[in-house]
Symmetry: D2
Subunit: 286 residues, 4 copies
């Protein structure tokens, strides 16, 4: 039995044709389930239909039953789809190096109830954040990474993620390139924050590149990680104004705020099933 | 017969219950009409359902037929609803006083194809903008307004709007209070731009009030006109940063840009049937 | 003796006349001290001169010597002025009630080196933030406030501020009205964050007022506290976009981010001697 | 004789040393001239001093006298410097191709008194904007450009600019690469608006590149033209939010607003002598 506060989120995409929305909404009506909100979008150039729908299920309509009975419809339209209960929190594993500002911001939001997530553990190639993490009662795993142990180290990280039953991996300023096997294992499940307005200043030391070029805005970009470095589907971007008077160090400091807010927003979109991926693009139903 | 570029926009609101979306989408599927995009929103505190849906109709499904066949569904759910063809432009009558910047901006966008509208005429209580308006081939009506002739003047304006078969009246810095009969005649069809971030600085000389108070941002607000001055449902707002160094005159100048963009955006939302009104609130499906 | 990293900040305001900048800069040149940056502004309507100047003093020019030798010039022009060494941190006493987000944000920035300040203590009318504060090694004072003990409680707070040799008091969501004696004792030294875009929605529950009115942006305002509630000189403001779909609770959550960033920015301006007060206005040299 | 509204603007840059500001301000005081505002900035890494100062001269202190008497000081410090009277308008020659939106926006602002400039002529490689330009009483020169006549065409443009006694050339979406001789002849005097957030998407069709990459913000960049295409010193940048639902055509349309405002702001900064160039960077005293 569901209770009065139960809400499901359904996301789906499939080749566009007449009748998709009718099939979905007839299904809901037949099961005495109400629509709380929905967004449909058709990418006309790729003839593909995208949808996100929030649902108030009837008391007898469990999530398992929903999935089971919706499956034939999904099959008929060859949908990629997900159905989740909003109160069932996703499990977020955070990877961090030395810089703690994004980690601290995520923890602060998590504790304030802004991020509907569980954080089963934090993984780092440094010890710097151990005390902070453990103080919050979250397990901290130190996995040293150097030139010689990379494959083993990332295997270890993959195992820790599996053991934690992680749903999504967040690189909260994890200053390492994720090797291809790990990218390939979790497509659309690893979120990175890059400290530039991509595609400007991909690669290392983007704020210093920006200062060198004399730009008047610097930014940050969150994206899903793919084997192509800094090339994955972009989830969110934002910028902040800088001036001639701002040193490279000051730009780094100003940029921290944008990194924090862009990463937090994109993680929230992901946790609320607002992001659908298609090729190298995202559809973000805000 | 419709052609390949025909698109309908359906908007509706009604008391919330199970089956609204199902009824709408079944109707579309039965008429071989595709969904191009949709937004549904339920206001839980008022238990009301709002929807905007873009539709690619089947070749035989004219707008008249659509309206005729959809009417029974709308009746069953007691919907407030509209159905329009996207290429069928709304008729925008612009009222202006002396300041031309919003008028000029709307004309520039209109001529650039940004505003899907016809402008059958411009009405003003001054002659200042006649040359500009007529140069663009648009009729200009001068209706002087003074303390003695108000009721007659606004009756005249109402007749001009009717004669022009106006769909929406835009007060593009029309520095007069619209009397109640005109407000009451066109609810949700008169858009005003107020040069402050309402509810701050309602009334006269808002930029000077803002300068006096020493605020660090000034703004503009577009809203539907109701009998209560500056109290109607807000469509759009935006702000711009000012500093101690900006004089009241300079703030007026900076504010012009925000007035122009807020008014243009809100008019576009209106023309594209993105704004649904409920009480003193708007639902804006962007 | 000063060292290579010594920097002074001089701020001043006085009645405008020819020769102020000449006197200041001749004084610096005579003492072999370099200008690192400066901003001068004349408020023409009040005929008042405002300046902020960053200085690299000669090795033998101590801050005490600077103050002593500059005093006659300041007297001659009847200046209000301050001179400080940039590395000499101001002492910030934070007052907080139950909501911790602004406090946590300030601590996070403080520990990251973004805020050049010492925090001698935190004062609260609740126990909720004790653990957080003490964990950072900062003393926490609980001063209960109720209808019966107000004068005594605020006397206590004033004594704690004095004992801590506080330079500035920050109300980081301190949900109490500061009584007039305390306001009067520290003009220009108490900073409050109000959770609305003042003068909109002064008073209680501003986000709920904003939601009620259906605004499209909500904001926050930092200001110096004066006896007139929510009427003091504004230091900084910012806004964030909201929509019809955001509940009052969600607006509260979105607003937290703006409160945090507006308060942090205005405190930084204050700590860096960027804010000069004149009447109910601020000059902020950014 | 000057009158009460006479204001001079002095800009200068030179190698940093003690005494620059003293020399400038003593000079002003000796000539009974008041400081209305000033900004000084030292680029510590290049050890260079930059200044912009607004001055109310004494009644007998003409601009010619100012320049003559200031010259020895400028020489002593090896300054690059300019002195101008604020009411003496700079002469802006606008180059445009077919797209008129930036041209129209500049003309609208010019006529509203926002741009303190004279526009002696507009030059175009197309006839499209002739009617618009001539209607405003401004001469229009059509200079066709094709693969065969480039050197001659740009010589012609150079002559027209000289004949018009142009101070600054504005490329208001002039879709041609300026050849090196013209760039070299007017360093710091040709302003271009590029329709992307440089260095992202340099080169052709930037909005389509942006759409292809799936970015969430698009921008515009104004810069001084140098022989290296899209590489000159950046004056101003801004961005606007786009989403998955915006087609490339819609992004082009949204981008127009940012192009207009970025170009207008950067031209105003230039006209008000707020931009100082150093190498490939600008110092913009706002």
């Amino acid at each position: 039995m569901t209770d009065a506060a139960t809400r499901y989120t359904l996301t789906l995409s499939c080749a566009d044709r007449v009748g998709i929305a009718a099939a979905v909404n007839m299904f809901l009506a037949e099961h005495q389930s109400a629509v709380l909100g929905a967004s449909y979008y058709v990418d006309e150039s790729h003839r593909r239909f995208f949808a996100r729908q929030e649902i108030v299920p009837s008391p007898s309509f469990t999530l398992d039953a929903f999935r089971q009975r919706f499956a034939p419809i999904a099959r008929a339209f060859q949908m990629e789809w997900t159905a989740s209960e909003q109160r069932q929190k996703k499990r977020v594993v955070i990877l961090v190096s030395k810089f703690g500002h994004c980690l601290h911001d995520l923890f602060e939001r998590w504790q304030a109830g802004e991020l509907p997530a569980d954080i089963p553990c934090v993984i780092s190639n440094h010890e710097a954040q151990r005390e902070f993490v453990e103080r919050h009662g979250v397990p901290f795993h130190h996995v040293p990474i150097d030139a010689d142990n990379k494959p083993a180290a990332y295997e270890h990280i993959g195992r820790l993620f599996e053991d934690a039953r992680g749903d999504v991996m967040v690189l909260a300023r994890f200053m390492q390139v994720i090797p291809e096997p790990l990218c390939a294992a979790y497509p659309g499940r690893i979120i990175n924050i890059h400290h530039s307005f991509l595609p400007s200043f991909a690669g290392a030391r983007p704020y210093h590149q920006a200062h060198q070029r004399g730009v008047k805005l610097v930014g940050a970009t969150s994206h899903y990680v793919t084997p192509a470095l800094d090339q994955g589907p972009i989830i969110e971007q934002d910028v902040i104004r800088v001036s001639h008077a701002d040193s490279a160090d000051r730009i780094v400091q100003l940029g921290r705020d944008i990194e924090k807010s862009v990463l937090a927003r994109s993680l929230l979109y992901h946790l609320e099933d607002r992001v659908l991926i298609h090729g190298n693009h995202t559809v973000v139903f805000r």
